[in-house]
Symmetry: C2
Subunit: 477 residues, 2 copies
């Protein structure tokens, strides 16, 4: 274990490619952080949306047709969020760009039936063994940011570029993957294409997913429209990968709050998603005594509050992101129905199951509790057990983190969100590297990871895949 | 005071026009309940929607192209709700029908700038004094029924028809009024046209109200399209009325639960409508610890539950009919904002004020209570003080109720809902007569008042306006 190099890293901008700051255990290679950030922001021209900060000011100034300084324009250009929904025209543009950039590096590129893109850089052994992969996603939420998913693909490309620049080859093939529609924001199934690859979802089910705003457009029709249905099966059997490393923003505040630079991800939380529907009776608010009511909104309000209290008792997370009431509701009419989403998470399966069952017990009591009572029903929409990532993958990331930022510079973390890595973990050794994001914010235009933190994460990715490559070689001998 | 005549009324179907059941104090006239109901249901052809019961069955049977009995068809015809929104094409049809029917009775018809329709039947005195009016509304909620408002206008017409049939004249002119857009369901301001008449709302504000689904259509443009902008000012000064009596379904369960036939309405509850908006931070549900959240949906849920508990302590009503969250919400993202409507009611102004202020105090605490807190703001959208109806109007209705259903057959009630009568009460002596509705349900397709109860209410309206006519004559001498 090495002394912390945090100070060196902190001052590591711009990078000096020829003088390695990393010795003893580190690769001696340095990723080009300027190129990394320039490439990331350049590709965010496709789908840029939701200006904020200087960008919004600049927008207002433009509207007012006032002069604008070059400096403001430059920094403003990166202060927007993203709306690059899976397989929309901007997503198609960045995908074509990704294919072209990896081809320039000499990669062998393939696309599978779900449009998942595999860029493969040949290793020195010429081994036909599956490549060690660095994957993430280029699609975003409709009000998303510039880092979630995008950083992971850009870092993978930067690692390939760094190796190519320096004439270094891994022993085994190394590659970058762009998984299609990770967000599930347009076609409503998160990680759908890595899930088809892992065998969790039938290809037909994924193909038939419809655009949530345009039922005419399905994943299949949009893949076809852009010419993204590749000629290899979307299957971990037909198209295996040797390991999957994913660099991603934390999407939470823990690293930032603790002043850490890297998260070494041990696995992912278990979670269950429910939709709870409450039926009552529409009635006039002014003329219906409390005792005569069957008020679904009141019941739903109490249920949301109760689920929160129940989850806290177990240190679990309970969240409601959606409440629905019928259209045509009005201030002076009690609704006939209300429904809400409930998302329960915890690193342990049994805790999630216990919280869900206590919530449902409580909901039944609440349903009977007011006026003439309401009817309740629910569906379990998603049931995702806790995930443990691969110990060897975790180990090479942890060693890299120790060497890069010192043992006090990183934290072991559990991923709160789903990622393509959860699917790849079913079929190949997998782990993730987290970097801090400002205020823990993600899925938001102001999502932000500093250039320094992006660079540290990308360097950690590089070191980890090189160490894993060595490990593969050792094991094969 | 007379012995109860409830038994006589109960068996009062079909009516026998030539033999009066009502003596000693009653008018000796009997309304034609068969004609009343036939007319009501006939006019509900314009806007009929939302079949239920036999009607829905019949609909299904029709779809299956099976034979259907004539009996089922007939009773099925009345088992639908209504969707006759103010100034839509069906509302225009029923309005033109109303004008034509009252003209047939020899009424002098006028329409004011808001399309309010005044049908005036000449009295025997030939007095230019303002008419005694019976008014209500022909428009409905989008998922409304056949009685709210409609019964009041049909009863007014039936009273005019009964007088005309029997050759009886009031001393002062007597008339029927159809107020435009009482519901505020299409152009979002309840009682807007009676409020312009009373001087509570400027004409321009009412004219500029836009269709909630089609911002191109305003009240003015729709009045103009149908040719309903009349040539007299919409103003109680330019077009005064002598008194306003309104027959209406109770819209609550009290009469039915107590087995009473008539409600003698003393006034209307005070109410305040607020919109409460909570701003937080959209964040990932899986990666954002509870302590780091600014979760507006959780806060809103707690606020709704709290407002309910606070109102109960004061025997007041608290209701939330609307919850709004931003579009594009998802199960795994905490919303950035949530808002809700809050409707607080009680017969006394000070109780409403107290409940509202305790709610807002509680909301502030809730806003500060979870995670990193949320921001809260609110608007007071409607502030309607308690209303006391006119003692003389109440007295003639009470006498009529005593005589028709006996002193145990009616209840003094406070109106829970707003009505055009609340506006007329600002400018002329006013009261209302309530009749029971099944299960207290209104603003719902299955809203129902039995033919017997419709008839008793209409007879009470007739008796009350005749007594009031005598009272006016006494006072003028
Ligand atoms: Zn992501
Ligand atoms: Zn009404």
């Amino acid at each position: 274990m090495l002394p912390p190099t945090t100070t060196a890293i902190r001052s590591w901008r711009p990078p000096k490619p020829r003088s390695s700051l990393f010795t003893r255990g580190l690769s001696g290679l340095t990723i080009n952080s300027g190129r990394l950030m320039e490439t990331l922001h350049q590709t965010c021209q496709w789908g840029a949306a939701h200006p904020y900060g200087k960008s919004r000011d600049s927008h207002h100034r433009t509207i007012r047709a006032l002069a604008d300084s070059h400096a403001a324009k430059t920094s403003a250009a990166t202060e927007t969020g993203m709306a690059r929904l899976a397989l929309d025209d901007d997503d198609a543009r960045v995908r074509r760009w990704f294919a072209s950039e990896t081809e320039k590096l000499g990669c062998h590129n393939t696309t599978d039936q779900m449009g998942n893109m595999f860029a493969r850089q040949a290793g020195s052994l010429g081994s036909p063994a599956p490549m060690t992969a660095m994957g993430s996603h280029l699609d975003t939420q409709p009000r998303g940011g510039r880092y979630d998913g995008i950083l992971g693909v850009m870092a993978a490309l930067e690692v390939l570029r760094t190796l190519k620049d320096k004439g270094r080859k891994t022993k085994y093939d190394l590659g970058a993957i762009n998984w299609t529609n990770e967000e599930g924001a347009r076609f409503p199934k998160s990680m759908v294409s890595s899930a088809v690859w892992s065998g969790s979802i039938p290809l037909e089910d994924a193909y038939s997913l419809a655009d949530i705003f345009n039922p005419q457009a399905t994943m299949e029709s949009e893949l076809r429209r852009h010419g993204f249905i590749g000629d290899i099966p979307c299957s971990s059997n037909a198209n295996p990968i040797g390991a999957h490393f994913e660099l991603h923003i934390e999407q939470g505040p823990i690293l930032e709050d603790d002043g850490k630079k890297l998260g070494v991800v041990q696995g992912a939380q278990a979670y269950k998603w429910l939709t709870v529907t409450v039926n009552g009776r529409d009635a006039h608010t002014g003329t219906t005594p409390m005792a005569a009511r069957r008020d679904p909104i009141l019941a739903v309000a109490k249920m949301i509050a109760a689920s929160n209290a129940i989850a806290r008792e177990s240190d679990a997370l309970a969240s409601t992101g959606i409440i629905k009431i019928p259209p045509g509701s009005s201030t002076n009419t009690l609704a006939s129905q209300a429904s809400f989403s409930l998302d329960i998470r915890h690193p342990h399966d049994d805790v999630v199951a216990g919280v869900v069952s206590r919530c449902l017990e409580s909901f039944k009591q609440i349903a009977a509790g007011d006026g003439k009572g309401v009817d309740i029903s629910w569906t379990l929409d998603t049931d995702s057990p806790a995930i443990k990532f691969d110990p060897e993958c975790i180990k090479v990331v942890q060693q890299s983190a120790d060497e890069l930022v010192g043992p006090d510079g990183w934290l072991p973390l559990t991923s709160g969100a789903g990622h393509d890595s959860v699917e790849t973990n079913k079929r190949c050794p997998t782990t993730m590297i987290f970097v801090p994001c400002r205020n823990g914010v993600s899925h938001h235009p102001e999502e932000y990871c500093s250039p320094e933190d992006c660079a540290i994460g990308t360097q950690a990715l590089l070191e980890a895949v090189l160490k894993y490559d060595e490990l593969r070689a050792t094991k094969d001998n």
